[in-house]
Amino acid sequence: MTLLMPKPEPAIMSRRNELIARLGAMLPRESLIVDDVARRAYECDAFTMYRALPLVVTLPESVEQVRAIMALAAEMNVKLVPRGAGTSLSGGSMPLEDGILLGMSKFNRILEIDYENRCARVQPGVQNLAISKAVEAQGFYYAPDPSSQIACSIGGNVAENAGGVHCLKYGLTTNNILGLDVVLMGGDLIRLGGKHLDSEGYDLIGLMTGSEGLLGVVTEVTVRLLQKPPVARGLLLGFASVAAGARCVGAIIARGVIPAGLEMMDKATIHAVERFQPCGYPLDAAALVIVELDGPQAEVDHLVGVVQDIAREEGATTIRASTSEAERLQFWAGRKNAFPAVSCIAPDYLCMDGTIPRARLPEALAGMDRLAKEQGLGVANVFHAGDGNLHPLILYDASKEGDVERAEKLGFDILRLCVSLGGVLTGEHGVGVEKRDLMGEMFTDVDLAQQMRLKCAFDPEGRLNPGKVFPTLHRCAELGMMHVSGGKMPFPDLPRF
């Protein structure tokens, strides 16, 4: 294990029985998990490379219980890690051995659907897809659609600022949230926003969104609902080279067309997908671009024509436009199955998540190829081409000596490449523990200190989800945020890593 986490604090570990007793007094029996086997189920999220057994798992059912747990954690100086459905791909909800795991899975109710104001109030444990399902009969949907939407929770989406195929046109989670209820470390409940737009004062909804569970625990979310477009049509475009595909993507945007979805996959992925679940992708193509256009019928038909023209000009070898809903879904079937399909061509894979300026796509892909060869590993590529969000899947075999390390090294090198091309370390999966130690590639110490000071404004003792996002755990006092009284510094033995 190359990852360094804060060493479990013996002072906390030794008080486990007291902690359990006090949690037991405030929670129903089934909301408190203490035995080893049951806790094991929570030892990691979807970033499975690193695991830790949480000190204790709590599954509160009410806001009051969340407040009580967080007040107790603050009082006893115990760390706390919030967790939604556990689908984070960067270890954002990886537990701590000396921390309470606060699972929000019982907050699974849709509280109100308000069609007139085009919004819904939901609890954080509600699945992303469940919101769209609940409103589809009335012709509405919730736009952000991460690939994990069948499993991931809306609270987790807020923590990670989830995106998805639709976000090029309809925005990320942050663009689709109107209100949040948040419990701060210590138990204070704050209400941000509501059913109205642009709450004045500092935009703490915007700050909370994508803060990876380091600032507070979300107990209610007001999401925007969008009217479902009457028509959606898909185009399947094949190209003889990745560069040609990338040029076509640029040309579509340059022509003023913003598709609802604009995805691309390379030859390795196309072949993996066709083997996994044949859906008619052209096997002779080096790159496949899937375009989705949605809106009123007349507009969509018009734009399908525009995109076909562009594809022809850019030398597409395959151009197919869907003429039925079944055919559109068929176009997407392979893309949606790309991750499981790739797992059939290699024993293991590591999914990276960097974003680059779209025009640098050919350079990025060539660079990745070179870096992969250096490590002797394969990479399959499937990505959100419209916004430059890459998801290289690094293929390796964990049973082979050194492969894990090589895969990790390659992943880091790829992310460094993204930053060097003007991009960023993560487009939608979050920093978590996975990319934590790379933050210095993008930010100076001063930049990071400012971010950490914000953390201190919310959580002065640094007890909420520590060890994530920031490469070095600073004390708030060092960052100029805490008044040290009587020379007593909190946690003088706090480990550095």
Partner: protein
């Protein structure tokens, strides 16, 4: 600038660091001034000196195919809009020009000022506000530190999203030196459908019905008789944008879906449509009146109730609704307390917030400009401010009396 005080010209980031560090050493507070169009906004709080960003000029990056533009904080908005226009692009959040509302000339706002107030126009309900288009920025904080955040790509969750925080912070956190924005293609054309003949409440209900159709209106406003267009009856105005073929089809469908007895429909062509929405963007129907101006954001279905409550307790001189009823612009007769208690109790009953936009210095020094916050949120807000500016150097007292 609130009143005559020493003005320091900031030419680059080093200047900003020096100026803020010097102010910090003396304990002086600083105003940040761009084009001056928003100097009347916020609490009346004279500052010891002004830092002018007028010399922070230059568009530093513009890649139309990538839909991205970076500019220094002092670049005039008009310069950016003209540049984008030449490439058929725009800032989709349609930033309001506050100048005319305060009796100043139009078109002098800077991009830094636009971001500082999280500007948004009638297209807000679909396209978002400034916060939704700021991809990254560079700034000098109240600590005198040069800090950057975000990036130039559309999707980025690397670290906290500080872009959201600086949008709408009124310069209280940092002096913005460079901003990177997402830009979008201009729609090929637009038109506005006017539905005339329903009363105020019915017109607002009609707007909400229009938002629940697949016709994708980009803006929806309710104009009381006399508010705009020289109409002598209440009107609902619905803007449709996009390819010509689509705009026409959607307009026809909207008419079919909304038609009812007693309702008359008119269509404004592209030119008249643009003129109407530019006026509404700048709150022209209330800006032209002599009186105090409030801007109120509520759930769209609550808009009419809020106005009714206010009308019962304060003399309303002019008003109109944008954002399908969710944004209310009100001009009230001038009073020392700006009828703040009446306005706030009406808004509190519905959930939302009210901001006093235009009032005299005396009133802005004594009445809360922004909505009061509950204790826990107020304390957190203060800690956030102090994480950037512990000594309250920047725009002291501009948002809240206590910092």
């Amino acid at each position: 600038m609130q009143s005559a005080c020493a003005t320091l010209e900031i030419r680059d980031e080093a200047d900003a660091v020096d100026a803020i560090c010097a102010a910090k050493a003396k304990g002086d507070c600083c105003a940040i001034v761009g084009g001056g169009s928003k100097s009347g906004l916020g609490r009346y709080a004279p500052q010891a000196q002004a830092l002018s960003t007028a010399a922070l000029t230059g568009v530093t990056l513009y890649e139309p195919n990538e839909l991205v533009l970076s500019a220094r904080g002092g670049v005039p908005l008009s310069e950016i809009e003209a540049l984008l226009d030449r490439h058929g692009q725009q800032l989709a959040f349609e930033p309001m020009d506050y100048g005319p509302l305060f009796g100043a000339e139009a078109g002098c706002a800077t991009i830094g000022g636009v971001i500082s107030v999280n500007a948004a126009g009638p297209r807000r309900i679909n396209a978002g506000a400034a916060r939704d288009h700021l991809l990254g920025f560079r700034c000098v904080t109240g600590r005198g530190e040069l800090v950057k955040s975000g990036g130039r790509v559309m999707k980025n969750v690397t670290g906290y999203d500080l872009s959201k925080l600086v949008c709408g912070s009124y310069g209280t956190l940092a002096l913005l030196t460079e901003l990177t924005l997402k830009v979008l293609p201009k729609p090929q054309t637009e038109c506005t459908l006017l539905a005339i003949g329903a009363d105020e409440a019915e017109s607002l209900a009609l707007l909400r019905r229009a938002t629940a159709t697949p016709c994708e209106p980009s803006s929806l406003a309710m104009l009381p008789a006399g508010a705009a267009l020289a109409l002598d009856a209440d009107a609902a105005a619905i803007r449709l944008e996009g390819p010509a073929i689509s705009v026409t089809a959607r307009r026809d469908e909207l008419v079919a879906r909304l038609a009812s007895g007693g309702l008359r429909f008119e269509t404004l062509d592209e030119y008249d449509s643009k003129t109407l929405w530019r006026g509404l963007r700048d709150a022209a129907p209330v800006a032209a009146k002599v009186g105090q101006i409030w801007r109120i954001s509520v759930a769209p279905s609550e808009g009419f109730t809020v106005v009714e409550h206010i009308r019962a307790g304060a003399p309303v001189l002019a008003h109109f609704y944008d954002w399908a009823g969710g944004l209310i612009w009100l001009c009230l007769e001038t009073a020392p307390d700006a009828y703040a208690a009446v306005v706030r109790s009406a808004v509190d009953a519905s959930g939302g917030h009210a901001t006093l936009i235009r009032a005299s210095e005396e009133t802005r020094a004594t009445v809360d400009i922004f909505h009061p916050q509950p204790a826990a949120l107020a304390a957190l807000t203060r800690r956030v401010k102090e994480s950037f500016d512990p000594a309250h150097i920047l725009e002291r007292g501009r948002m809240r009396a206590e910092f």
